[in-house]
């Protein structure tokens, strides 16, 4: 069966028909060239409205057209360039653009004619189809053209050409075959831009010889075609079951699964090949655009061409007729169509091309590729075109986008591929299929210009970023977010305790805060304590004690006159009367002096012996370390000892570790030793107060002159002749400590007595201190060389000395007071015992009675 191709739409029609079944156009000898040009023009500028009827186009196998893009040997265009040919300005821009590209072949050698509009459009359409960033509202903006050799690696394009163009059976009459042959022939494959009539055998009226600008006629809007009403408004619903549809072997079908293609190839026979050549898949796509349901059922179309991916709710733009008057029939350099003119993207394109050759950076848009290698879709396929900006709308021609599913690539450009649609494509198709994946990989590896990357990036990335709101971070990201430490730490440094023993002290650890950190959690946490019975008893005891503290106790009002108070008054009266009477009416009591045996091994005896060893002007250090309250006792106790020292003619040095000590020393001399008439700094020196207790005393032991440089009255402490040679405490001939505090006595013994070599350490202490210092005297070696304790030892000392003093004067009242005190204690104890016996006896009697 012989079909007649429609010169208008290129679809096969029965030879019996005089008009095309599809477009209604007349079949027969018509000016194909004019139809092609008008078709192309209409496709480019007028057919953006999907409601418009399909323009008749030339049926062409897209595989062959794609093969033409991979032509490894660009024709020597220099030979094609004719002086009279004035390339359009856009092509001049392209040439200028090519100047910037350090292509393997000098771009300067590329004539404007070589920059095929159709090829570039195919490239753009191919690229745009792949990127899927088309918009039906886009102006047909042709992209700048650049040698495809630079875009596609040679290893892909070169070996394909021989196998992609096996068109030996194509009829010589076929103009597309001629176009294909012209493409294969160097210098002739670009003739459609220069001399289409000579190379393609088109009618002479379109020859550039007659019309120098005739090679751009296909760009010239044909008023007739523009004004021609749609010839096929009622486009019939395609027959999806027809082999020509389902088994479309177009280049887009090659994007399908190779296995599918192989199956299709195996199932198809020569009839299929014939029908295939007669099938225009683009028309089917356009027809399918009206019904997405059918497209969904058709798996032969790649997803990115699927009409169903178009948003159904996308508002269809109003048919905007192309500004036909703007495109002049004669495309002067200044009157080029808008899509051929360089726009603002030229710079970006130039930059892109420059970087393309100068750098090896690759741009890989996101492509979802199934494991089978089938190119499925892009991420932004489902993004509405409305999301794109106006500039992006301009960048992509309408026919190059997804919306070209309605219009597809114009037929006029299909011949640029040099592929004969009637020729059987198996060999070439297989060859292309082999390199299909690599082709697209390399295609996407190419660095794209900014305007394209921006469009694709916005189409791909922006929706992704918009999908996630700013605050909708995943949980694991929130968990990884650094947490600023609480400023409580800084506050704790300045925390000051408010109560308790640490009140007022800063920088303490607040126990309350630690407890209150996780009080609830701590309360919920079980205590793994194993308590024994005894522990429970302690707990109960503690609870009882705490409970008793909270209970209010009744305090009985004391009786106005208590027995104890009366007893206290009675004892006080007895003591005062007897003591005062003894003082007033008493006198001296003649006592016998102690024997030598009694003196031996006693403290006062040892002290007496030590003082007896001293002689005139020997320095003696006396420490007045007692409180004024003890002055009555210690003055009487020390009077005889100091008198003895003065009798020996020693040079006395007074010092005190108590602030009141120096004054007491002066008072002691005035009240007890007035008879000796000791003069300050002459017979004695008052060194004053020695601060520091044990530490100060230790330092004084080591270096007395440095610790106390001045005397109590501010005079030179160490200027007296007896003290000139005193450099340490061992230089004193004797040390006498007068104290009423056992701790002070211990300090002197521990700090000084252990350091002294030959200097004796002696003491005059209160009677209450004697039990504590006596072991130091009794120990061996002795840390205490002698001591006098209280009035009793002092009175004995005075008796030994033979010089009665205060101790002797107070001896009678003191003894009487002792007797009264002992008697009171004895009587009190006896009375207490008797009362206890009576109490027990009474209790026993009561118990027996009960």
């Amino acid at each position: 069966m012989t079909d007649i191709l429609c010169p208008t739409c290129g679809r096969p029609n029965s030879e019996n028909h005089s008009s095309c079944d599809f477009c209604g156009g007349p079949l027969g000898s018509e000016d194909i060239t004019s139809v092609q040009n008008s078709s192309l023009r209409d496709d480019l500028f007028s057919n953006e409205n999907p409601n418009e009827p399909l323009e008749p186009r030339e049926s062409m196998d897209e595989a062959s057209r794609l093969d033409s893009l991979f032509s490894p040997d660009p024709p020597p265009l220099d030979s094609q360039k004719e002086p009279g040919d004035q390339p359009p300005e856009s092509l001049n821009d392209v040439s200028r653009l090519d100047d910037l590209i350090p292509a393997p072949e000098s771009t300067e050698a590329l004539p404007e004619e070589e920059i095929q509009t159709g090829e570039s459009l195919d490239d753009s359409s191919l690229r745009d189809d792949i990127l899927g960033s088309d918009d039906p509202l886009q102006e047909p903006k042709p992209q700048n053209h650049f040698p495809l050799d630079n875009l596609f690696p040679d290893d892909i394009s070169a070996p394909e050409l021989p196998s992609q163009d096996p068109l030996p059976d194509s009829p010589p009459e076929d103009d597309q075959l001629q176009e294909k042959s012209s493409m294969e022939t160097p210098g002739e494959d670009w003739d459609f831009l220069t001399e289409p009539s000579s190379s393609s055998g088109l009618p002479q009226e379109n020859s550039p010889a007659e019309e120098p600008q005739g090679d751009w006629d296909f760009l010239t809007p044909d008023p007739s075609s523009e004004e021609t009403p749609p010839q096929d408004l009622d486009d019939p619903i395609p027959d999806f079951g027809s082999p020509g549809f389902s088994e479309d072997s177009g280049w887009l079908d090659m994007l399908q699964d190779p296995e599918t293609r192989e199956e299709l190839a195996s199932e198809t026979s020569s009839d299929i090949k014939k029908e295939k050549n007669q099938t225009d898949w683009l028309d089917k796509i356009k027809r399918l655009d009206k019904s997405t349901e059918h497209v969904d059922e058709d798996s032969s179309f790649p997803d990115w061409l699927s009409v169903s991916e178009k948003p159904a709710e996308e508002p269809e733009p109003e048919p905007t007729p192309e500004p036909v008057p703007e495109i002049q029939p004669e495309p002067a350099s200044s009157d080029l169509p808008a899509w051929l003119q360089m726009d603002g993207d030229d710079e970006s394109l130039n930059e892109f091309l420059r970087r393309k050759d100068l750098t090896n950076e690759e741009y890989k848009p996101k492509i979802n590729k199934e494991p089978t290698g089938e190119l499925v879709t892009l991420e932004d396929d489902d993004e509405p075109a409305a999301d794109l900006s106006d500039s992006q709308h301009i960048k992509f021609p309408s026919w190059a986008g997804n919306e070209s599913k309605k219009e597809e690539i114009p037929e006029d450009l299909q011949f640029l591929a040099g592929y004969d649609p009637d020729s059987p494509p198996p060999d070439g198709v297989d060859a292309l299929q082999i390199e299909e994946e690599e082709y697209f990989d390399d295609l996407f590896n190419e660095e794209l210009p900014d305007w394209l990357t921006s469009a694709s990036s916005e189409g791909v990335i922006k929706p992704t970023s918009e999908a996630l709101s700013q605050g909708d971070l995943p949980g694991w990201v929130e968990a990884m977010r650094p947490v600023v430490e609480s400023s409580d730490l800084a506050e704790e440094e300045d925390y000051m305790e408010n109560y308790g023993p640490l009140a007022g002290i800063p920088s303490v650890l607040p126990a309350e805060a630690e407890i209150a950190l996780d009080l609830e959690k701590a309360a919920k946490k079980p205590l793994d304590l194993i308590t024994s019975k005894s522990n429970q008893e302690y707990v109960n005891l503690l609870k009882k004690l705490i409970g008793e503290e909270n209970k209010a106790k009744t305090i009985l009002r004391p009786a106005p006159v208590q027995t104890q108070r009366v007893l206290r008054w009675l004892i006080a009266i007895i003591m005062l009367v007897t003591t005062a009477g003894t003082v007033i009416f008493g006198g001296n009591i003649e006592t016998e002096p102690p024997t030598q045996a009694q003196i031996q091994n006693t403290g006062y005896g040892a002290l007496y012996d030590q003082i007896e060893k001293l002689y005139d002007s020997q320095p003696v250090l006396i420490a007045f370390d007692y409180q004024p309250a003890a002055a009555g006792e210690l003055h009487a106790a020390a009077a005889g000892v100091v008198d003895h020292l003065m009798e020996q003619g020693t040079y006395l040095s007074f010092v005190s570790t108590q602030p009141t000590g120096p004054a007491l020393a002066e008072n002691f001399l005035e009240t007890t030793q007035e008879a000796h008439r000791y003069q300050h700094t002459q017979q004695y020196i008052n060194l004053g107060y020695l601060p520091g207790e044990s530490a100060g005393l230790l330092s004084f032991v080591i270096a007395p002159k440095k610790i106390i440089p001045l005397a109590f009255d501010g005079s030179n402490a160490w200027g007296s002749p007896p003290l000139v040679n005193v450099d340490s405490i061992n230089d004193f001939e004797m040390i006498l400590v007068i104290t009423d505090d056992p701790d002070i006595a211990k300090i002197w013994i521990e700090q000084v007595g252990t350091i002294l070599d030959d200097t004796p350490l002696t003491m005059v202490v209160s009677a209450q201190v004697e039990p504590l210092i006596q072991p130091y005297f009794r120990s061996s070696p002795q840390l205490l060389s002698g001591y006098v304790s209280g009035i009793i030892d002092s009175m004995i000392y005075e008796q030994i000395l033979g010089r009665p003093n205060l101790a002797t004067e107070t001896w009678l009242p003191f003894n009487l007071g002792i007797v009264i005190a002992v008697g009171t204690i004895f009587i009190g104890g006896l009375a207490n015992g008797v009362l206890s016996i009576f109490s027990r006896h009474r209790s026993k009697l009561i118990g027996d009675t009960k």
Partner: protein
């Protein structure tokens, strides 16, 4: 009456007055006693402050800082900085005061511990041992007396130390009590402690009695002086 005698008389009169005020405590707590106590405390504090300034700060810090050598000045500065602990709670330099307090406490504790070990602990242990060592007995007294004294010292020391041993062994089902052996020995130690505290109390009593006699003597002397003056005035 010259000025010296007048001052002595005023001093004696004040002494007599405050002695009577203190004695008034025999009748119980009264305002006169509290007045005397407050005066004594105030006078004592003022006197201590004056002594500290005149006898410590001025001669040991100020004068060396002004008139001393370079080393004395540096030492005075170093002494002045630790003294800032006086302003511990009112100045930001309270931490410097902490340093001074730490130095004082640390040095004092170190000196006290060293002196206690070398001056009290070891000598007491050695004295206790020597008390039962006949070779260490002196020839001036009876050896039997020294031996008995030594035994008493050793027994008192051991039993007193055992008395302060409060450790018990955990015996489930039984109250935590000390071992019977320890308990019995501790009773002996308790006797020694009672005797020691009795001796201390006797010493306090003797000291108080001596002070009482001295105060009564003072009162009588003052009265005699007043009566003498009054007697001589007539």
């Amino acid at each position: 009456m010259n000025m010296g005698n007048l001052l002595d008389f005023i001093g004696l009169a004040l002494g007599f007055l405050f002695t009577i005020l203190i004695f008034s405590y025999l009748l119980g707590d009264n305002p006169f006693f509290r007045l005397a106590i407050h005066i004594f405390i105030g006078v004592s504090a003022a006197y201590v402050a004056i002594i500290t300034i005149n006898n410590v700060l001025i001669p040991r810090m100020i004068i060396p800082l002004i008139q001393g050598s370079q080393g004395e000045r540096l030492l005075s500065i170093l002494l002045f900085i630790p003294s800032l602990f006086l302003f511990l709670k009112v100045t930001p330099l309270r931490k410097a005061g902490n340093w001074s307090v730490a130095i004082l406490v640390g040095i004092g504790a170190a000196a006290a511990i060293g002196g206690t070990i070398t001056g009290t602990l070891f000598p007491q242990i050695l004295g206790t041992i020597n008390s039962v060592d006949p070779s260490a007995y002196s020839i001036s007294s009876s050896r039997w007396d020294q031996a008995i004294n030594g035994i008493i010292i050793v027994l008192g020391t051991i039993t007193t130390l055992i008395y302060f041993h409060f450790g018990t062994r955990d015996n489930p089902g039984h109250p935590n009590e000390r071992q019977p052996f320890i308990e019995n020995i501790s009773k002996i130690g308790k006797i020694f402690l009672a005797i020691t505290f009795g001796a201390l109390y006797a010493g306090v009593l003797l000291s108080s009695l001596a002070a009482l006699v001295e105060r009564l003597s003072f009162l009588w002397e003052f009265l005699n002086s007043i009566g003498f003056q009054l007697f001589t005035s007539f």
